[in-house]
């Protein structure tokens, strides 16, 4: 409302953030787990006096640097860029609450990057002990940066006591912070195994390859073993409405939650019977397959985590479209066009009802819906006459619990409805009788049945 709304076609802003974020998550957790894997493996090689393993660790470190330092760092910046473009109001809020948290994370980044370069270029230059210490410094800094950003991320879903106190400590040490941190650490360890399987499968020497493949598989299995426990703990801290969404409240979200479990289980089974039990038969193709499964698992899990937060972007504080909960009563009374700074119509223009409606859509709905692409609103209202549309608009948050209520005056609602009605050709047959005036409450037009909330 406060900011102009950017509406990338087809994907929509949310999807752009999603794509960048999922790739980033997949790499950045490796940045942490891999940071543990390297010094642990290096130390193991020294202890066992195993130069071949040491050579493997060394070549893995090059892969690590190319993936983590470049893609990990730039995609992290990419998330920041995209959230600022798609949700400027929420980004600004987060920065006001957490600027020192981010500043602290920035310090860890600097240490992390310096340590990564020195570790990578230091194999021949540094003595063993110093080289290992640098590896541990890298891991410490990388994990600390996870610790910080994790608190900011979980704040959005479980802001906890911050809603009353507005203090940094309450915001950071929010209910979801600790379990999520444990879960993410476990994911990091598992992903260290996934990436190590990729590099291990390219080792030429057969004996070494089997050894390293099996060793990497152990990392993967150890990490995934801890995920369900931490995950359940995390779910127990969620707001009830959010939990409901993932457990039947919204079919798409429930399906994705199921997929998340499915992919994770597939990764475990595949790893156990594949590289763990038969390391000799493991090869690069298998490794990529496994990586794709792990990426899918990460992807759907993060997607679900985002989805259950709807209709909020910061739970109980700000809606996905940037409207603060506190402002709702005022907006209902004044209408939203008055506050929609960038709308071309500042009040409902009866002569341009439809284009006014489009402005309202932009301000209120475009953060989750595109017109023609992802979560298309044209598709959503297909076959609806305007009277049904208008009914739905007045009950938006009741029809779908994860949608914010429509805010605005009755005139504005009619304008939005008029625009929505133009998106599809008028239905030839009346599919659902419009409710008789005055009897709305008794009629339950729920075109996608089973999803309406009482």
């Amino acid at each position: 409302m406060n900011y102009p709304v950017w509406t990338p076609p087809i994907l929509g802003g949310g999807m752009i953030i999603g794509i960048i974020a999922i790739l980033h998550v997949f790499v950045s957790h490796f940045a942490i787990g891999g940071g543990l894997f390297l010094p642990v493996t290096e130390r193991k090689a020294y202890r066992e006096n195993n130069p071949a393993l040491l050579e493997y660790a060394r070549s893995h470190s090059r892969f690590f640097v190319l993936v983590v330092l470049v893609f990990g760092a730039v995609s992290g910046v990419g998330i920041w860029w995209s959230i600022a473009l798609v949700n400027p109001e929420a980004t600004a809020t987060l920065i006001h609450v957490f600027v020192w948290g981010w500043a602290i994370e920035w310090v860890f980044f600097i240490v992390e990057i310096a340590a990564a370069f020195i570790y990578y270029h230091g194999w021949d230059r540094l003595d063993r002990r110093t080289h290992l210490i640098v590896g541990w410094i890298y891991f410490g800094a990388a994990w600390a940066s996870l610790f910080v950003i994790n608190g900011i991320l979980t704040f959005m879903l479980t802001p906890g006591r911050w809603l009353e106190t507005h203090s940094f400590a309450a915001a950071f040490f929010n209910p979801g912070m600790l379990p999520s941190c444990v879960a993410r650490t476990a994911v990091a360890v598992a992903l260290a195994g996934v990436y190590a399987l990729v590099t291990a499968s390219t080792v030429r020497d057969v004996a070494l390859r089997s050894e390293v493949v099996q060793y990497a598989a152990k990392w993967l299995l150890a990490g995934t073993a801890a995920i369900p426990i931490a995950g359940l703990w995390y779910i127990s801290t969620l707001p009830p409405a959010a939990r409901d969404i993932s457990m039947g409240g919204a079919p798409a979200v429930t399906i994705f939650a199921g997929l998340s479990i499915f992919f994770s289980a597939a990764v475990v089974i595949f790893t156990y019977f594949g590289p763990y039990q038969r390391p000799r038969h493991f090869n690069l193709t298998f490794a990529f397959l496994l990586a794709v499964m792990a990426l899918s698992s990460t992807g759907v899990t993060e997607w679900v985590r985002e989805a259950v937060r709807k209709p909020y972007i910061i739970y109980d504080y700000m809606l996905a479209n940037g409207v603060r909960v506190d402002d709702l009563p005022r907006l209902r009374q004044e209408g939203i066009l008055k506050s929609a700074l960038w709308a071309r119509h500042r009040e409902v223009d009866p002569k341009a009802l439809e284009s006014t409606g489009q402005e309202i859509f932009r301000a209120q709905c475009a953060s989750c819906h595109t017109v023609n692409g992802y979560n298309s609103v044209r598709f959503a209202v297909k076959g609806w006459r305007w009277i049904l549309i208008d009914y739905q608009l007045s009950h938006l948050s009741e029809v779908k619990g994860f949608m914010p209520p429509f805010v605005g005056t009755e005139e504005e609602r009619k304008a939005l409805g008029a625009w929505l009605a133009t998106l599809n050709p008028t239905p030839a047959t009346v599919e659902i009788e419009p409710p008789p005036p005055g009897e709305k409450a008794q009629v339950q037009p729920a075109p996608s049945s089973g999803e309406s909330k009482p």
Binding site: Y3, A73, V74, A84, A114, D127, V134, H166
Partner: protein, 358 residues
């Protein structure tokens, strides 16, 4: 028509504005030093890579200097995070609006940086394998980074002109604003790029010192070559700087020409320091570096004064409510000191390694 400017977030700032602005300018200086090495560095590498087809000295120089580039890219990006953070905190409602208006190109920055970064790695790891294609790889990389600089300078200029926001919004789809590219806008970009070339020249002269044992001849040559770039770049920079200055709106320009004593003094000292650096460069690199870091810091302060002057009619962050989060700030300050000490320890271990005990 009144300019349309979003309302700032109704949450108090977590520290007084002076502290946030100090951190904004201070971390910007750090970023700009790395950015200069990067932007100027890829320009120098491109030239040497092309010349290196027939000139052994340039070829050897490009090979060695390229190895130093990946960390430079990494630090340019990372050091850039902090100033952008403080900018968003203090001037968010302006910065977000201008970013959203030019969303497509602003988002493209991420992809250009990613491609450019891999370009730098490709060139530095595989120069020999690339053969005749190597110069083109580094040229393309340079072009990508120049685009990034261009988009940055567009956004940083647009955010200072809130009176343009709504008219631009009426004329363009949200996200596709990029213009108007005016002569002063171009001067600003050139001012950054030419300055980067000069500072990178000094950086090369410094880098050459680390080659003294392995390639003494090249070290001597590269030092002189770097200083040459520094001298030429700084010389041109004086002219571009004048162009930039005279392209500023009249009232802001007047500040630096006697209208505001502090602003004028800062500009004069910055220019004098740059001249001193030129005088010193051939004899003492260290002195030249100190002087030029002084110039860069003062220029960063001047840039900030220009920003404040542009925005004076529309927004003064000093009117925002403040509620210090001092505890976390102190934690940050302590961690910063600890973090820098850790980095210093690692660098020392790396550059002065103990004899290997195996």
């Amino acid at each position: 028509m009144n300019p349309v400017i979003p309302a700032p977030v109704p949450i108090p700032l977590p520290a007084p504005v002076w502290l946030l602005e100090f951190l904004l300018v201070f971390t910007f200086v750090l970023h700009v030093v790395a950015m200069n090495f990067l932007a100027g560095g890829v320009m120098m590498l491109t030239l040497s890579s092309f010349l290196g087809r027939h000139d052994l000295q340039h070829r050897e120089f490009a090979r060695r200097a390229a190895r130093a580039m990946p960390p430079v890219v990494a630090f340019t990006i990372t050091l850039g995070v902090a100033p952008l953070l403080f900018l968003q905190l203090v001037y968010g409602q302006l910065f977000y609006t201008s970013s959203v208006l030019m969303a497509w190109s602003w988002l493209a920055v991420v992809f250009f940086v990613l491609l450019g970064y891999y370009g730098v790695y490709w060139f530095s790891l595989q120069q020999d394998e690339l053969g005749a294609r190597a110069p083109w790889v580094i040229l393309a990389t340079t072009v990508l980074f120049v685009f990034v600089a261009f988009i940055f300078s567009r956004n940083m200029t647009l955010m200072l002109r809130p009176q343009d926001f709504y008219p631009l919004h009426l004329r363009h789809e949200v996200g596709s604003v990029l213009g108007p590219v005016t002569a002063p806008g171009l001067a600003r970009l050139l001012h950054f790029l030419v300055g980067a070339a000069a500072v990178a020249g000094l950086g090369v002269a410094l880098l050459a010192r680390t080659w003294r044992t392995e390639a003494p001849e090249l070290a001597v040559w590269a030092r002189a070559y770097g200083v040459k770039w520094f001298m030429a770049g700084t010389g041109v920079e004086f002219l571009v700087g004048l162009w930039f200055l005279f392209g500023l709106p009249q009232d802001i320009r007047a500040m630096f020409l006697g209208g505001d004593r502090l602003a004028t003094a800062l500009l004069v000292i910055a220019v004098v320091l740059a001249m001193l650096a030129m005088v010193a460069a051939k004899r003492s690199l260290a002195a030249a570096c100190v002087a030029i870091v002084g110039t860069l810091s003062l220029m960063a302060v001047i840039r900030h004064l220009v920003r404040v002057a542009y925005l004076r009619p529309y927004f003064d962050p000093r009117t925002l409510p403040v509620q210090g989060q001092w505890f976390v700030f102190v934690l940050f300050a302590l961690l910063l000191v600890g973090g820098l000490a850790t980095v210093a320890w690692m660098l020392r271990a790396f550059f002065h390694p103990a004899p290997r005990a195996t």
